[in-house]
Symmetry: D2
Amino acid sequence: MIFYSALNEILENVKETNNKVDEKTLSQLTTMIREVDHVFVMGMGRSGLVAKAFAMRLMHLGLGVYVVGETITPAITDKDCLIAISGSGETSYIISTTETAKERGAKIVAITSYTDSPLAKKSDLVVQLKGRTKKESENNFIGRQMSGEHTTFSPLGTLFEITALIFLDSTIAQLMSDLEVTEDVLRDNHTVLE
Amino acid sequence: MIFYSALNEILENVKETNNKVDEKTLSQLTTMIREVDHVFVMGMGRSGLVAKAFAMRLMHLGLGVYVVGETITPAITDKDCLIAISGSGETSYIISTTETAKERGAKIVAITSYTDSPLAKKSDLVVQLKGRTKKESENNFIGRQMSGEHTTFSPLGTLFEITALIFLDSTIAQLMSDLEVTEDVLRDNHTVLE
Amino acid sequence: MIFYSALNEILENVKETNNKVDEKTLSQLTTMIREVDHVFVMGMGRSGLVAKAFAMRLMHLGLGVYVVGETITPAITDKDCLIAISGSGETSYIISTTETAKERGAKIVAITSYTDSPLAKKSDLVVQLKGRTKKESENNFIGRQMSGEHTTFSPLGTLFEITALIFLDSTIAQLMSDLEVTEDVLRDNHTVLE
Amino acid sequence: MIFYSALNEILENVKETNNKVDEKTLSQLTTMIREVDHVFVMGMGRSGLVAKAFAMRLMHLGLGVYVVGETITPAITDKDCLIAISGSGETSYIISTTETAKERGAKIVAITSYTDSPLAKKSDLVVQLKGRTKKESENNFIGRQMSGEHTTFSPLGTLFEITALIFLDSTIAQLMSDLEVTEDVLRDNHTVLE
């Protein structure tokens, strides 16, 4: 069944990509997250859901965090950072929001597949997570599959989004260790009102 | 046109209901909001949107506030209060959330049409805002209209929801005055990332 | 108490503004809503909450509706319309979204205070709802109040947002009448899963 | 670094768990999704984000889908199904929503770690996805790590949530193949308004 092929493709990409992230980048990221007053996260579509999943864990860790677009998100300041998640690094709303945050003195982190994208170029720190090459994504999914070519079983940004989620959850584990936060603390901070 | 009749009906209800709220209740509400660490707000459906509109202004005032169900909402504590907005005061999810908040020592405020509802009975402070009587809402909208009976032009919880929004925005004006917060402060806290 | 002054100011604005909306505009709006395949609604901040409150009632009426930014919102087509709610008519994200929708052939409706705003200029139909004049909003709220000048008790976009909500709920009453939809139908469509 | 250990732990769990899902269950799931009028999805916290990520792809496939709790979600009917995602299968709001959907004749699918949970028992189809055992999650994360015991690097529901997301994205690949939907179709349905 296609199910298992898709599963393997996803796992291969996540493994290969995340193992390529170097310790220096990781260390810069966790240091920035610990030093700022508040981490602001943002993403559009499914990347936005990944951003929220990360924000929830940062809150569980007891860190100050806001999601761009949610009700109580205040103005960003020069003591904050913005983590923007965008596979292409080209989403216009992400770019304009990043510019606003930068003008106000906030640090910018890009989580993206492209180090030469507009988003990456405006960022203080870039975490490159490979998704699919543009070429691949322009081809026809089933067409190639039927003709026996190598193809992808992960439409649109699927590979990037899952890779980003697992990258960020592994970063949470690193932060728990660095901050010596136990799981009990996370449980205590976990919302009880739902 | 029905449009203008509906408009008048809405305005009449808002005016009559909000002018009935006594100064003591208002004063207890604004005092509680100022004294707690964080205000948690909640509501389902359109009442939930009213809750969010209020939360946004509390944030603009510089007060600590969370919306139940949003990404970064932490566990509630005995230094917080929960403001629950429910016309009927009977929504089961609201009731169970209120119980959890109460068990954890949080103060409860009900914004509701019914002082004898399950929600009101569990609350430390009740703000009664009349919407429609149950009897009215059980009748057929257009049926009564066509038969010439007095009827409502505001289906379901419309009257309660609008009345609650205007009640809460008037409370914001009161808080601005009490806290001596200028509009400039609100503008500074207003999110810039959207 | 400031509470009652704020209440009166809000009610005066809603009444005056909504009574100025002419029948022709209303008729064009309700006709467009009835003729399109899907109504897309959007707004930022509290205007976005107003957009959602309207969308919920359109769904209750049995009409096809989507909220820009929610999970299941598909691509807009030339058989749809976009209703954009923005007091200033200048929000950049609203403008760029409107342009995209227009390029795809969708009809645009602006709900705004300014008929000469970028949003209004790109729209097929403009509903003008007065909020505050720019001049007023540039002044200091408490400062003027203390100095005895006439002032506003409704910070930022409050007057516009409430006026827009009541305009749209009155439009719902008009649609119920035009479509001969009874309140029972709304109740049947009302979500039961919350 | 802990980062890489966490990464491996996550990947191991996803691989082992998803490969255990049998073809019959997969086939029942994809058949049900194709046959119903609308798929309703729900989850709380991070499981809710996974539900939304899945809903977005179902929409891209051209299927009818709603997210419980979003603005335009209508009443569920006996021609729909509800897919509830809950690691523990015990979340009270999920259980009560499931009961409501069941009473209205909708089919229920549980995505959960526990086949004997209240959620699973009320479901027509159960997809079991192992997360962590309860015993493990009761222990102290860093305490065990420091004392040299085998431990987890994935706090709270992390393993379940990621496993569920990848399970559902692999199911999307299966549906694309079954429905002979090309990636171009997904791209055409992809929202353009953000």
